[in-house]
C-alpha cells in the first residue's frame, strides 16, 4: 500500500494558501482584481497598448463613430478616444495611488501617536479631525487644489491631504482599541519601548484595516482627480485625463454623446472595481468571515 506523504508547509505559506482560496471563492473580488490589474497595466504600458498617440489628430475622422481604425470613435480634433482613455488612466491611477499613499503616510503616524499617548495632544488631533470631517472630501479637495494651482501634481496633493482626516480617525480608533489588548499590556510589562509597541504590536495589527481603507480611498481619489480635471483644477488639456475628456465633450453632447459616455464609463468601472476589490479583501482578511 502506498500513501502520499503530506508536504510540510511553512505556516506563512499555509496562511497564504488559505487566503488565496478564500479570495478565489469570491467571483466579484476576482473580477474586480482582473479589472484593476488591467487598468494599472494599461496605464503603465500606455505607450504600447494604445493604438494611437494621445495627441495624434486624424482630420479625416472628426467626431467619428466607432470604426476599425478608431474602436471608440474620435473627438472634435480627430483624436482616438480609446487611446485617450488609456492614456487618461495614467492620470487617474497616478492620482489614486499617490494621493492614497500620501494620505496614509500623514494620517497613520498621527493616528498612532494620538491614540496611543492620549492626553491633550490627542484631544487636539481628534477635534481638528472632526472639524475637517465636516467638509465633504471633494469640497476640501477642490478648495485645496484651487489654492495650490492647477496641475496633476497639485491635484494629487490636494486629494491626498483631503483624504487625511478620515484616515486619522480610523487609525486613531484602531490604536485606541489595540492598545488595550493583552499582548500590548504584556509587551509593556516585558519592557518594550514605545517604538516597538507602536511599530511591531499596534501597526501590524491594523494593516488589514488599512489595506481595505486604501482600496476605498483610491477610487475616491480617482473620482476626485476626474472632478478636479473636469473643473480645470487638475490635468490641463491637451494632456488626456478622464475629467478633461468629459469637460471637452460638453459642447458636443447632442452630436457625439459617446465622447462623454466612454470616459464616464471608464471612471465608473475603475472606481467600482477598486471598491469591490476592497470589499473582497475585507472579507478575506477578516478572520471572522465564514467562507
Amino acid at each position: 500500500m502506498s500513501y502520499v506523504e503530506a508536504q510540510p508547509l511553512s505556516p506563512r505559506a499555509r496562511r497564504r494558501r488559505v487566503m488565496r482560496r478564500r479570495f478565489l471563492r469570491r467571483p466579484a473580488a476576482v473580477g474586480s482584481l482582473v479589472v484593476v490589474v488591467s487598468f494599472v497595466l494599461a496605464a503603465v504600458f500606455a505607450r504600447w497598448v494604445a493604438p494611437h498617440p494621445p495627441g495624434a489628430t486624424d482630420f479625416d475622422a472628426i467626431l467619428a463613430g466607432p470604426s476599425r481604425e478608431h474602436l471608440l470613435g474620435t473627438d472634435e480634433l480627430g483624436r482616438d478616444t480609446l487611446s485617450r482613455i488609456i492614456w487618461g488612466a495614467r492620470a487617474s491611477i497616478q492620482a489614486g495611488f499617490f494621493a492614497t499613499m500620501l494620505a496614509m503616510a500623514v494620517a497613520v503616524p498621527i493616528g498612532l501617536v494620538g491614540g496611543y499617548y492620549r492626553g491633550k495632544v490627542d484631544t487636539v488631533i481628534a477635534r481638528i479631525t472632526d472639524v475637517l470631517l465636516a467638509f465633504p472630501f471633494l469640497i476640501l479637495a477642490v478648495g485645496l487644489a484651487a489654492i495650490l494651482g492647477p496641475s496633476l501634481l497639485n491635484a494629487t496633493l490636494a486629494l491626498g491631504i483631503a483624504a487625511v482626516p478620515p484616515l486619522i480617525r480610523i487609525s486613531r480608533g484602531e490604536t485606541l482599541e489595540l492598545r488595550e489588548e493583552d499582548y500590548v499590556r504584556a509587551a509593556v510589562a516585558n519592557g518594550a519601548n514605545d517604538g516597538v509597541i507602536l511599530g511591531r504590536h499596534i501597526l501590524p495589527n491594523m494593516t488589514s484595516t488599512l489595506i481595505v481603507q486604501a482600496t476605498l480611498t483610491i477610487p475616491a481619489a480617482i473620482i476626485g482627480e476626474a472632478v478636479l480635471s473636469f473643473l480645470g483644477l487638475g490635468v490641463q488639456p491637451p494632456t488626456p485625463s478622464w475629467g478633461v475628456m468629459l469637460n471637452a465633450a460638453q459642447p458636443y453632447l447632442s452630436e457625439a454623446p459617446q465622447l462623454a459616455v466612454y470616459p464616464g464609463l471608464a471612471i465608473v468601472i475603475a472606481a467600482l472595481a477598486f471598491n469591490l476589490l476592497g470589499d473582497g479583501l475585507r472579507d478575506v482578511l477578516d478572520p471572522k468571515t465564514e467562507r
Partner: protein
Amino acid sequence: MNEPLLEIEGLSVRFETDEGTVHAVDGMSLALAPAQVLGIVGESGCGKSVTAMSMLSLLPSTARVSGSVRFAGTELLGASKAKLRQIRGREISFVFQEPMTSLNPVLRIGHQVGEVLREHLGLSRSAARARTIELLDLVHIPDPERRVDEYPHQLSGGMRQRVMIAMALACDPKILIADEPTTALDVTIQAGILDLLRELRVRLGTAILLITHNLGVVADIADRVVVMYAGRKVEEAPVTELFAAPQHPYTIGLLGAIPRAGQAHNGRLREIPGRVPSLSEPPGYCAFADRCPRADELTRSQVPELREVRPDHAVACFHPGQR
C-alpha cells in the same frame, strides 16, 4: 530568612473615578526572598493584581499609588520610565492570566520571544532565535525548532502559556510575577504549568509571586501565603502553617469552600455569607465584619491591625483562632 529581594511597604492604590475614589489597595506590605514562591490569595477584586501591576507602574494613569516598593534596594515607585523599562522583563517579569490573547496574533512565536532578548540583551537576530529555541525547550514545548516559526493561533492555550513563561524568563529575571497563570487553563494543563513553575524555581532560582484565587494552586507550589481581602492583607503565614492553623475567619471560610474528593460535606460546600464590600467607601472598621460570624462591637468600630499571633503567622483580626 535572607535579605528580601522585593519589599513592599504601606502600598496604597486609589483610582479616581466618576463615582468617587476607589480604594483598591490599602496599606499593603509584603516581602519576597530570592527563590521564594509567595502566593497572594483572595477573591476577585480584592486588589491582588493591582498590587502586582502597581509595582512596575503598569496601572492606568487614573491610579494614585503611594507607599514604597523596593527591588534589590532601588525604589520602584516614581522611578523614571527608562529605569522601569530596564527592570520590566529584565529583572521582574509578568505572566498574565489570558494566554489566548496575550500573544500578538501577527507575530511568530520566535519573533515575540526574541524581541525581549534583543531589547534587553542586545542579541542579534540569529542569537535571539537560538536562545528562543532553548527557552521553548526549557518550558517543555515539543519540537521547538518548528514551533519557533509558528503563529500564536497554531498553539493551544497551554502551549501559549508556556510561550508566555518562556518570554518572561527570557532575560533570566530575578522575579516572576504570575497573575492567575493557570486560571484560563483546564486542570491537567494547569498541573503541567505548575510543575513547570516549580521546576524553574529550582533550576533558575527565580523568585515567584503567584497571584491566584485558587488555594489548591497555592498549596501546591507556594512557600508562603498572603491572604488579601478588600485591598488589605488579612493574614500571612508559611503555607503549611496557614493550611494547618488558619486564624482569620475569612481564610477559614476560603478553606471551607474548597471541594475535597472523598470528604463528606453533607452534599454542600460551605460558603462565606454576604458579598465583597464596595471599595469606594472603606467602612472605617473591619471590612469583613458584615460577613463574619465573630463580629462584635469592637469589630464594627475599628480597623484591626496586623499582629503576630503565632510564630511567623500574622493576622488582622480582633478574634483570631481556628474555631
